[in-house]
């Protein structure tokens, strides 16, 4: 049917729609409507729902309803175009509070009073104006600090799977993250997309227990909220984060969970628009869309603040080549991968040794940052652990007994690495010194000649024959180690 319109005291209002499908509403005979403009749609009972314009031509607008189309009817819905793109208020007073996925109070408090309202899409940071991130953040977790170190201003996601302890790991990181020299605490911006209430509660409890609640702002679009709303939640959260970081000069840690849910909402809208689907039905622009979220991290010239981003996502069927983790990995500066096998063997945090990577680590560790031996130690641990994986594969085939003595030593090293270096208590906060020394302890279970990547000078300083390790005199038989 055609749209008619009536002028109200609150502006032009259109009545009726020509089509409603999935999250989309098509309104005809519109005038003066902008692309991406915010829309308020009133249902028959007069309750408003927010939406935005996805496509506009001479007399027709395609509107994405963020709060779902349930109960809307072609005849009765009213549409008002609000004359601007989606904006949210930002202010320091919002710290310590809880909001819904579109930035409206969800804690019973009053809406934030601020004249400063910002477009949630933000603007691209000029690469020329970026400052390269390089301050090491100590998370107190050896697997991260020692081998995949995080720096301030980095975007480092957690790739997890259903039932794996990504929430506990990220809560521990939030609790413990600190810089070596400064006493500055992170402000925390938390965005939950499509997760259950108990997850939200878990994080609130954790923040409260560690006294961080007053430094945190939370945006919840939980599992029972309309799924399309989630498309705005990370953007609302990042708009707030940018304000805190670059206007107020704070160091902000942004936690986004769960990006897989976000991507599913995007897929839903794409399907409803009849777009040509890409891999696994996700839209072809998923990469660009995710980049518009993940790239909102870092540091800029002229501001002391920073945004460090940790996005959690669950890999469907633990498949790292699934489009969501795959495209995320192509955008972020590394990834922390949780491993089901380690977890089942009782190792917490179950951070996978090989697929995890921090790309900015090279610029934030070593001499002048952590300790001179840090980069080489990490590189040698990776190399040896990679060899352990090969030996384990071989042992599965020919049996452990048939391995050379050197290969058996590698197995012992692997065991030590996992149970002493990786494994730690949920409330154990290790200093970087402790982590590095522990790294040398486990490396020292291997013969000195095996540590090719370490220079003689460093070996002299840090390698120590650990007691109980067979001293390696006779050259090994039949090993192919490298």
């Amino acid at each position: 049917m055609d749209t008619t319109f009536e002028v109200e005291d609150r502006g032009l209002q259109y009545v009726g729609a020509s089509r409603i499908e999935g999250p989309l509403v098509v309104v005809e005979r519109i005038r003066d409507v902008g692309y991406d403009e915010v829309v308020e749609i009133l249902d028959a009972a007069g309750h408003p729902r927010l939406g935005r314009v996805l496509d506009v031509s001479g007399n027709q607008a395609v509107i994405q309803v963020l709060e779902g189309t349930t109960g809307l009817s072609n005849k009765t819905l009213h549409t008002r175009f609000l004359g601007e793109s989606f904006r949210v208020p930002v202010s320091r007073q919002m710290l310590g509070r809880v909001f819904d996925g579109l930035g409206r109070p969800a804690d019973g408090g009053s809406p934030p009073l601020s004249a400063d309202r910002r477009d949630v899409n933000g603007m691209p940071i000029n690469p020329y104006a970026r400052r390269y991130p390089r301050e090491f953040i100590q998370t107190g977790l050896s697997a991260i600090d020692g081998m995949n170190a995080l720096v301030r201003g980095q975007k480092l996601p957690v790739f997890s799977g259903n039932g794996l302890p990504h929430d506990r790991v990220s809560a521990q990181i939030i609790r413990q993250a600190c810089l070596l020299e400064e006493e500055v605490k992170f402000s925390i911006v938390f965005a939950a997309m499509g997760v259950k209430h108990d997850v939200a509660e878990f994080f609130i409890r954790n923040l409260r227990d560690s006294g961080a609640l007053s430094r945190a702002i939370m945006f919840f679009s939980l599992a029972d909220a309309p799924s399309v709303e989630r498309l705005l939640t990370p953007r609302v959260a990042l708009t707030m984060a940018e304000y805190l970081a670059f206007d107020c000069g704070q160091h902000v840690l942004v936690l986004l969970t769960d990006m897989t849910n976000y991507c599913e909402s995007l897929r839903e809208v794409g399907t409803a628009r009849g777009e040509i689907p890409g891999r696994k039905g996700y839209p072809g622009y998923l990469y660009s869309d995710l980049a518009s979220i993940y790239e909102r991290a870092g540091r800029i010239e002229g501001s002391p603040g920073s945004i460090t981003q940790m996005a959690i996502l669950t890999m469907p069927a633990d498949d790292i080549s699934h489009p969501v983790p795959d495209l995320t990995g192509y955008i972020t500066e590394g990834q922390i991968v949780l491993d089901r096998d380690l977890f089942q063997r009782g190792i917490y945090p179950p951070i996978a040794g090989l697929p995890s990577l921090s790309r900015l680590m090279k610029d934030g560790v070593g001499k002048g940052y952590t300790r001179d031996d840090h980069p080489i130690l990490a590189s040698q641990l990776f190399a040896c652990y990679a060899y352990v994986k090969r030996v384990r594969g071989l042992a599965d085939v020919i049996g452990e007994g048939e391995l050379s003595s050197l290969d058996r030593q590698y197995l012992e090293f692997g065991e030590a690495f996992e149970t002493r270096f990786l494994k730690q208590d949920e409330y154990e906060n290790r200093s970087i010194e402790t982590t590095l020394n522990l790294g040398w302890d486990v490396l020292s279970t291997l013969p000195r000649d095996e540590l090719h990547r370490v220079s003689d000078a460093l070996l002299e300083k840090y390698y120590h024959e650990s007691e109980g390790t067979p001293v390696h005199e006779a050259p090994p038989q039949g090993s192919v180690s490298g």
Binding site: G122, P124, N126, Y287, D326, A383, A386, L394, E402, G478
Partner: protein
């Protein structure tokens, strides 16, 4: 830029970066238009009746039907002249420092900044006199753009005639008239700056065969899978396998005269890293800062997608311009997959029929056109010059069977396949020695022969050894290494040394990041010497275990980082040591035998 066009041209539909406008009967394909009151820059990509479809290079939020659309009458073009080197541009050649000066840390829409500084004065030195006949591409003068780049001011490709007048040596601005040429079409003023449409290749006199390698200082590339000057290479790999780092390494150490690095749909911080690092790093040949020969194009992943599509053309056009001066230019595009995805996204918005995996059917043609703009040529000016192209490819899930990797393969002759397993094991560069290839080996063989007569033999022997190792590993996986005779286990042992001591090369190690051709050959020779000696020893009854525990083995493994490029004598000493130790071992066993 002059703005013409009719009053009644106006937007009728806005869908993301795609805008339809009516009243566009005078518009031409690929003409630049300005949309809306902010004058957002766009390009006409389709004409139907008096409707034009426009792809807009900036965010279209709150653009409304009815917004004015102005035609400029010119296709999307770049400015070519002194001041390009050392600069960083977005995809449509807006200088990012200029944008920062006017809009701060964030890129606001509708920013208009000239690509080159029109006020700055450059010292121009004429190379021709009035009365002389000049032809297209000929240099009429030169400007020292940076201590590394002697910038030739050339007659534009569509001009030739007699010099009527030319200025004396002195300081001039880009737009000052330097010379007047009398052509058959009348008088033409020449300045320091030319404009050229990015989608049109700049003309050349003829294409030449490739004869010289682009030396990159990366062992696995130069020794195993060399790229020729004027060649094209693809570097495909899943996320985190090392495409960007490898390209950065090449941009730093290649013996090209000019480097154009195009960050196409990738991370902002990676461009920042180049900006921060290159001015500090010294070119190993001239000792000058690398930034003095580098041009950056940055269309990061969060910048508008249409500008990502065009950034590739912007970059290659700048490269061709420097090639025309007789220079050897290397272009790095990271990542061509993001460019292809931009094509796909725009095609979908244009409701074109998709071919494979949603990509437009024109994908292979577009890729071919891009890689064809590289090559070794005789320029219009008559000198030999080249554009080499290295394109990163980011296949979804790291699976090389997807369209962009597959089609790219058809148009490049050098394929550096990155391997996720190697990257996970922190073996960098993770270029897989068995899955990669270079068709330039024959072309550059003669060059290497002069450098090292045994290059071809060393290379062949090393690759054969690695292939044998692969086959033996299949057996080892089933039954363990113990069943193999020592002769075969020696192959496994030497292959490990080859991987750790030669193929793996750290970008972060002072001594290792750049390896001169001489040192590459010396290292490889050392490893193969150990192999040959080891073979003899094993034939003489020496157990492999004794060879493994020779004192020289850890030294060989550390040689790449223990010594610098200028300490070749240390490698000679090491070779000597191998000889001594193996000879001693041989003696010991002949004694035992007697």
């Amino acid at each position: 830029m002059t703005v013409t066009g009719t009053m009644e041209s106006a937007a009728t539909r806005i869908s993301g970066p795609i805008v339809t406008a009516s009243g566009m009967y005078a518009a031409q394909m690929y003409e630049v238009v300005q949309v809306g009151s902010l004058g957002l820059v766009g390009e006409v990509v389709r004409l139907v009746g008096d409707y034009a479809t426009i792809q807009v290079y900036e965010d279209t939020t709150m653009l409304k039907p009815g917004a004015p659309v102005r035609c400029t009458g010119v296709p999307l073009s770049v400015w070519l002249g002194p001041g390009l080197v050392g600069n960083i541009y977005d995809g449509i050649q807006r200088p990012l420092p200029g944008i920062q000066a006017s809009s701060g840390a964030w890129i606001r829409r509708g920013e208009k900044v000239d690509p080159l500084d029109t006020e700055r004065r450059w010292t121009f030195e004429p190379l021709v006199r009035s009365g002389e006949v000049v032809t297209a591409g000929q240099a009429i003068g030169q400007v020292a753009e940076t201590p590394l780049v002697n910038h030739l001011i050339m007659v534009p490709p569509d001009v030739s005639g007699t010099i009527q007048s030319i200025v004396d040596k002195g300081d001039y601005r880009l737009i000052d008239r330097l010379a007047v040429v009398e052509t058959t079409m009348g008088m033409r003023d020449l300045t320091m700056v030319q404009q050229w449409p990015v989608r049109v290749p700049r003309p050349i006199r003829e294409r030449l065969r490739i004869t010289e390698p682009l030396i990159t200082g990366q062992r696995i590339i130069d020794t195993f899978f060399p790229i020729g000057k004027g060649g094209a290479a693809a570097i495909p790999g899943g996320f985190g396998t090392g495409k960007t780092i490898t390209q950065h390494q090449l941009a730093k150490w290649s013996n090209a005269d000019i480097v154009v690095f195009i960050g196409c749909g990738e991370r902002g911080n990676e461009m920042t890293e180049v900006l921060r690092e290159f001015p500090e790093l010294k070119d190993p040949r001239s000792g000058r800062p690398l930034m003095e020969r580098t041009i950056l194009i940055a269309n990061t992943s969060n910048m508008p997608v249409a500008a990502r599509e065009v950034s590739i053309y912007t970059g290659i056009t700048l490269a061709e311009y420097y090639r025309d001066m007789g220079l050897s230019v290397a272009v790095f595009a990271d990542s061509t997959s993001r460019w292809a995805e931009a094509l796909r996204e725009l095609a979908a918005r244009l409701e074109e029929m998709p071919a494979e995996e949603g990509f437009p059917a024109s994908l292979p043609t577009r890729l071919a056109q891009f890689y064809e703009r590289g090559g070794t040529v005789t320029t219009l000016g008559g000198t030999q010059a080249s554009v080499s192209i290295v394109g990163a490819v980011s296949p979804p899930g790291g699976d090389f069977s997807e369209p962009v990797t597959q089609h790219t393969r058809r148009f490049v002759r050098c394929f550096w396949a990155l391997d996720t397993e190697l990257a996970n094991a922190r073996h960098y560069p993770s270029i897989h020695w068995l899955h990669s290839y270079s068709e330039y080996v024959e072309d550059v063989g003669p060059w290497w022969k002069k450098e090292a007569p045994d290059w071809v033999d060393l290379r062949t022997e090393a690759l054969t050894l690695l292939q044998r190792e692969e086959r033996l590993q299949q057996i080892v996986k089933l039954v363990g290494p113990d069943v193999l005779p020592d002769g075969q286990r020696l192959v496994l042992f030497i292959a490990e040394i080859m991987k750790d001591g030669f193929l793996a090369q750290s970008s972060f190690d002072e001594n290792d990041m750049y390896c001169t051709p001489e040192r590459q050959v010396a290292l490889l020779r050392i490893i193969l010497t150990l192999y040959h000696r080891g073979r003899d020893l094993i034939e003489g009854g020496v157990p492999l275990a004794r060879i493994r525990s020779l004192g020289c083995v850890p030294q060989i493994l550390r040689a790449k980082s223990a010594f610098s490029n200028t300490e070749l004598e240390k490698l000679t000493e090491l070779a000597q040591r191998i000889t001594e130790e193996t000879e001693a071992l041989a003696k010991e066993f002949t004694k035992e035998a007697t």
